[in-house]
């Protein structure tokens, strides 16, 4: 036994022509992941200049669905890309010069960060955490590493990529390995397509029955998945003494559930769209937040803090930006599909706003404060 040499890999599935084609699609998938990931991050931690629209109502559902689906599609693409350049690992000398050393280093960062993003993302959507670090922060940081190393890689390889994508192919020899170059490319596209079909039902309703590896079902209460149960949140059904507080400056308005239900109600079809990529439309009925703010004599154009009965937890409180607070479709929902909210969906009332991440659709609301 000896270590293989670069020249030992004779299969047509290796080489720049394969690597450039798969790399192009992998690059597109990573770009989609990165841009949609940045958007989701900015919505949850908005810088002062950031604006996220309330229309179309499915906007966040689409961007986050794309984030997760393109990440899944990238898994077979990454493995095929690495296979196409695997002989390079055995190139000798290990390091030819300082630029060569830096290039190899950047590729190690690229591969490490790429695997990190795809594997931690896949485990996270399954709510499965075989690690100790805090996922959102690490996934965000490694996303910058992956894209940074990818840009450096493209800068280094641009002449090779251009030649590989534009030059006429040489006459085809019979394949020496299990697959020809073309067969390998077709196999890669097939694996990527099957990976998408097997999972995209989390976001795409008509794929729900096809996607056997979708991490959601229709078995949640009232047909809607629950990401944090009342038990996990330490919340139980409220009694008649419960009041919703609407605070505007020094004035506090208190409303019982019966008083809320007696106000003019709006019914709207709005999606719950989770950061974990799954989404589901539902018919919600409740009082528009903007109507409650008007009743509390708040002027439009103000952000609103939403507090929950939940005592602790990362998402016990959220802030509705002014655009969402003013939108007539942003509801303090009392009903889901015509029935009172299930406790797991936020009874007595919850926020449901168009085009927002599910973690910010605060449940078990007991206080709105104009900021």
């Amino acid at each position: 036994m000896r270590l293989p040499k670069e020249a030992d890999f004779t299969s047509q599935t290796h080489g720049p022509r394969t690597a450039a084609r798969i790399g192009l699609w992998l690059g597109i998938a990573f770009l989609v992941c990165f841009v949609t990931g940045l958007l989701s991050h900015a919505i949850q931690h908005p810088p002062s200049w950031f604006f996220w629209p309330t229309r179309p109502i499915n906007l966040y559902r689409i961007t986050q669905g794309l984030h997760v689906v393109s990440g899944v599609a990238a898994i077979p693409l990454l493995l095929a890309k690495l296979w196409s350049v695997y002989p390079k690992l055995f190139g000798r000398p290990l390091v030819r010069s300082l630029p060569h050393a830096l290039e190899r280093g950047s590729i190690l960062v690229l591969i490490g960060a790429s695997f990190f993003e795809l594997t931690t993302g896949l485990f996270n959507v399954a709510q499965n955490y075989p690690w100790k670090f805090f996922f959102p922060v690490a996934h965000y940081a490694a996303g910058w590493l992956a894209v940074g190393a990818l840009l450096v890689h493209v800068a280094v390889k641009l002449p090779v990529i251009r030649t590989a994508l534009t030059r006429e192919p040489k006459p085809v020899d019979p394949p020496t390995g299990a697959l020809s170059r073309r067969g390998f490319l077709r196999t890669t596209w097939a694996a990527s397509g099957v990976a998408v079909l097997a999972t995209a039902g989390v976001a795409v309703p008509w794929l729900r029955q096809v996607s056997v590896l979708a991490w959601r079902s229709d078995r949640g209460p009232q047909g809607l998945p629950v990401n944090r149960t009342a038990t996990a949140a330490g919340v139980s059904t409220v009694d008649d003494t419960w009041r919703l507080e609407v605070v505007n400056g020094g004035v506090t308005m208190r409303l019982s559930l019966a008083e809320l239900a007696a106000l003019p109600q709006t019914t709207a079809e709005l999606p719950i769209a989770c950061v974990e990529g799954w989404s589901q439309s539902a018919i919600w009925t409740g009082v528009p937040v903007s109507a409650l703010l008007r009743a509390a004599h708040a002027s439009p154009g103000r952000a609103v803090r939403v507090d929950s009965l939940e005592r602790d937890g990362l998402y016990r409180s959220s802030e509705l930006p002014a655009a969402h607070a003013d939108d007539p479709l942003t509801l303090l929902a009392l009903r889901l599909g015509g029935e009172a909210l299930d406790l797991d969906h936020g009874y007595p009332c919850r926020i449901i706003a168009p085009s927002r991440p599910g973690v910010l659709q605060t449940k078990w609301v007991n206080r709105l404060e104009v900021l």
């Binding site: 898994i75 077979p76 493995l79 296979w83 695997y86 190690l108 591969i111 490490g112 960060a113 790429s114 695997f115 990190f116 594997t119 399954a126 709510q127 499965n128 075989p130 690690w131 100790k132 670090f133 805090f134 690490a138 965000y140 940081a141 490694a142 996303g143 910058w144 590493l145 992956a146 894209v147 940074g148 990818l150 840009l151 450096v152 800068a155 280094v156 641009l158 002449p159 251009r162 299990a178 697959l179 067969g183 077709r186 196999t187 890669t188 097939a190 694996a191 099957v194 990976a195 097997a198 056997v212 590896l213 991490w215 959601r216 078995r219 949640g220 209460p221 998945p225 629950v226 149960t229």
Partner: protein, 139 residues
């Protein structure tokens, strides 16, 4: 093209620097967190280069020796797609580190679903092998 390459490289280095600076506080936190993070960052390349890729190379050699040219393509594609489905199902099937159960989430019959998808894949493999176009293989 030179300008484009320089711009890409500068943007890339800036993003790398920013990502690295975001990771520093995580690495300076508790040692357990840092070890876990470094293992996940470094684990991918190591597992791929030392385990997965050699296994795939070996499998490819076995396929070339054991199968006629007619079956090599379909069987290899079938194995790649099966492997992809297998990898995707790992977080759904191995749940020792899962969070609290949530109604409507990760509660489908994944083993049965995986088996059904793999069965469909291999039916397609069989059909492709059986209906292999003879015109293509004759000179």
């Amino acid at each position: 093209m030179r300008v484009l390459r320089v711009v890409l490289a500068v943007l890339g280095l800036a993003a790398l620097g920013w990502g690295g600076s975001l990771l520093v506080p995580l690495l300076l936190g508790s040692p357990g967190d840092a070890v876990s993070l470094l293992a996940w960052l470094g684990g991918g390349p190591v597992l791929h280069d030392l385990l997965l890729a050699p296994a795939v190379a070996l499998l490819g050699t076995v396929i070339v020796r054991a199968l006629s040219p007619r079956w090599r393509g379909p069987v290899t594609t079938g194995l790649v797609v099966t492997g992809t489905l297998g990898l995707l199902s790992v977080p759904l099937l191995w749940r020792e580190n899962s969070g609290p159960p949530n109604p409507g989430l990760h509660d489908r019959p994944y083993l049965a679903g995986l088996a059904a998808a793999v069965a469909v894949v291999w039916i397609v493999v069989l059909l492709c092998g059986v209906t292999h176009r003879r015109t293509k293989s004759s000179p």
